[in-house]
């Protein structure tokens, strides 16, 4: 077993509309914040992993170096759908764990404010002659003709499929999940939206893809988050204050969809999440009962429901009862998305994976301000990207 890895410093920018800052400005703000939080400098970093989805071909990592320090270290530009930030962090963790260096920096950043509907692809004008193309031999674009390719529609079906299998779901239930997260966000000054919304407002808002209305969809916004990771042996040479604030990475897991019959046509976000959670609990030596808080990938209200089950916060098929019991509310026994989640805190894709970890770290350190979950010792951060990637990190408060 290789040595433990710790998060030494972590930072998240204000999420929302950030017209004054470009991608590199946001990444720099997060990176410098994380370095400062950890009490270290860019010159001490042995690896940089930069996550950014929309500019995946542009080399954000190297552009960031030009702004904050060109030290000649290896840079990994990472893109892995909505799991991009978690993948960047995991890349830095792997480098440290492999012994290639003793400290590394991971950054996740995205400019998405006003991006509108993602991934559906605009329909090109149909050609004058039907010409089969692509692996389906399609003569015309399929979005809207053979189901939907939009994310709200895909994740709506994922929630509906859960309802078909286990029962107990309806429009209002999904809306109440969203109501919870918007309510949680009122305590998070860094969230893109910090206003509570009533059930009536949520259900009466613009329908995007039934049963997901607009406030039940993740909020496209700008933002960045960054983390400094350090090896156990290096941390032991650092100040007591650094050791006290360091957060243990008890598990870092990344999975993809294994083959399932139905996942060929509707992405299966369930199996890979359950597999990631199983591996993470085993790595960390903890179980779902040990978690004091969870930040999970509520890219849509319908997704949050299935992930209660996938992360084994409840028994299989028990997600509706779990929610109805009040467990995932911030005053419940298993608070979920106390940050406001992607629906209210916001979802700058490349930043989200690290931002979820930022939230958990702050509770473990007792630095989460008004929304502190008292006495938090262990937390889990989850993200999913289509299609497909799932990152699960379990974090533990330092023993000291």
């Amino acid at each position: 077993m290789s040595e433990d890895i710790w998060i030494l410093g972590i930072h998240m920018t204000k999420f929302g509309k950030r017209p004054e800052s470009d991608v590199v400005d946001l990444a720099a703000e997060a990176a410098l914040g994380a370095l400062s939080d950890g009490g270290v400098t860019m010159g001490e970093m042995g690896v940089l992993a930069a996550g950014n989805l929309m500019g995946a071909a542009t080399g954000v990592g190297q552009m960031l170096q030009k702004q904050i320090g060109q030290t000649g270290i290896p840079v990994y530009n990472v893109a892995n759908a909505c799991a991009t930030g978690a993948t960047a962090l995991r890349t830095a963790i792997m480098a440290v764990r492999a012994g290639e260096c003793d400290m590394g920096l991971a950054v996740g950043v995205e400019k998405l404010a006003g991006a509108g509907l993602l991934s559906g692809g605009s329909r090109k004008k149909d050609s004058d002659t039907w010409e089969p193309s692509g692996r389906y031999g399609a003569v015309a674009p399929l979005d809207g003709r053979v189901g939907t390719e939009t994310m709200p529609g895909v994740f709506a079906q994922i929630g509906m499929e859960y309802g078909h299998t286990y029962g107990g779901t309806d429009f209002e239930l999904f809306a109440r999940i969203s109501e919870k997260n918007h309510m949680h966000s009122t305590l998070n000054p860094l969230a893109a939206y910090t206003k509570a919304m009533s059930l009536e407002q949520i259900m009466g808002d613009v329908m995007i893809a039934y049963p997901n209305t607009r406030p039940m969809c993740s909020a496209n916004c700008d933002g960045a988050a960054a983390a400094v990771v350090v090896s156990d042996s290096k941390l032991k040479t650092m100040s007591l204050e650094q050791q006290r604030r360091a957060v243990k990475v008890a598990a870092s897991v990344l999975t993809t969809d294994p083959w399932e019959e139905a996942c060929q046509i509707l992405p299966d976000v369930n199996t890979l999440t359950r597999n990631a959670a199983t591996q993470a609990y085993e790595q960390a030596g903890v179980g779902p009962d040990d978690l004091d808080l969870v930040e999970l990938h509520d890219c849509f209200a319908t997704a949050e429901l299935v992930h209660y089950d996938n992360l084994m916060l409840c028994e299989q098929g028990g997600a509706v009862d779990f929610f109805e019991s009040g467990a995932p509310f911030r005053d419940g026994p298993k608070p979920v998305n106390v940050s406001g989640g992607l629906e209210s805190k916001g979802h700058p894709i490349g930043a989200t994976g690290i931002a979820n970890i930022w939230e958990v770290c702050h509770h473990l350190r007792g630095e989460a301000g008004d929304r502190q979950i008292d006495g938090a010792q262990v937390g889990l951060a989850h993200v999913i990207g289509l299609g497909s990637a799932c990152g699960v990190h379990i974090l533990e408060k330092a023993a000291a």
Partner: protein, 136 residues
């Protein structure tokens, strides 16, 4: 009449239109698109896949009513996943009011085809969807 062409090549037209899946001869996994090898068992070879007819009737196991889509996509429409005797199929639910009172999880549906337009040479493209088997 210059004839017809299916929207996708797994839609077989004729007297009894139906879908054909590509089935792995080693493990039975089914696909609707072309594969280089089997994603389930990894087997690859000249005759790795054979065409099998997918039953036309099935059960709606997931759906959404899309009201907001990319430019050029008419809304609202009902997108769904249909379980056709163990083979999952993606398709729109058609010939139904696009609302949650008329589209229900678990409803029985059957394949139907319809014209989606003609090209400059008069060839008609035929698409598919699933319609309810009984009145809502």
């Amino acid at each position: 009449m210059s004839g017809q062409i299916p929207l996708v090549d797994y839609l077989v037209l004729g007297d009894e239109p139906h879908l054909e899946a590509s089935e792995c001869t080693s493990c039975g996994a089914r696909y609707f698109d072309r594969r280089n090898a089997c994603a389930s068992c990894g087997a690859a070879g000249e005759d790795q896949f054979r065409s099998v007819a997918v039953p036309n009737e099935g059960q709606l196991k997931a759906f959404t009513i899309v009201s907001f889509a990319a430019p050029g996509v008419p809304v609202p429409f009902v997108a769904g996943v249909i379980d056709c005797a163990g083979t999952s199929v993606r398709g729109n639910v058609v010939n139904v009011e696009p609302d949650a009172d008329h589209v229900r999880l678990g409803m029985k549906v059957r394949l139907t085809t319809f014209a989606i337009g003609e090209d400059g040479e008069g060839t008609e493209a035929i698409g598919y969807g699933y319609e309810p088997m009984e009145a809502a």
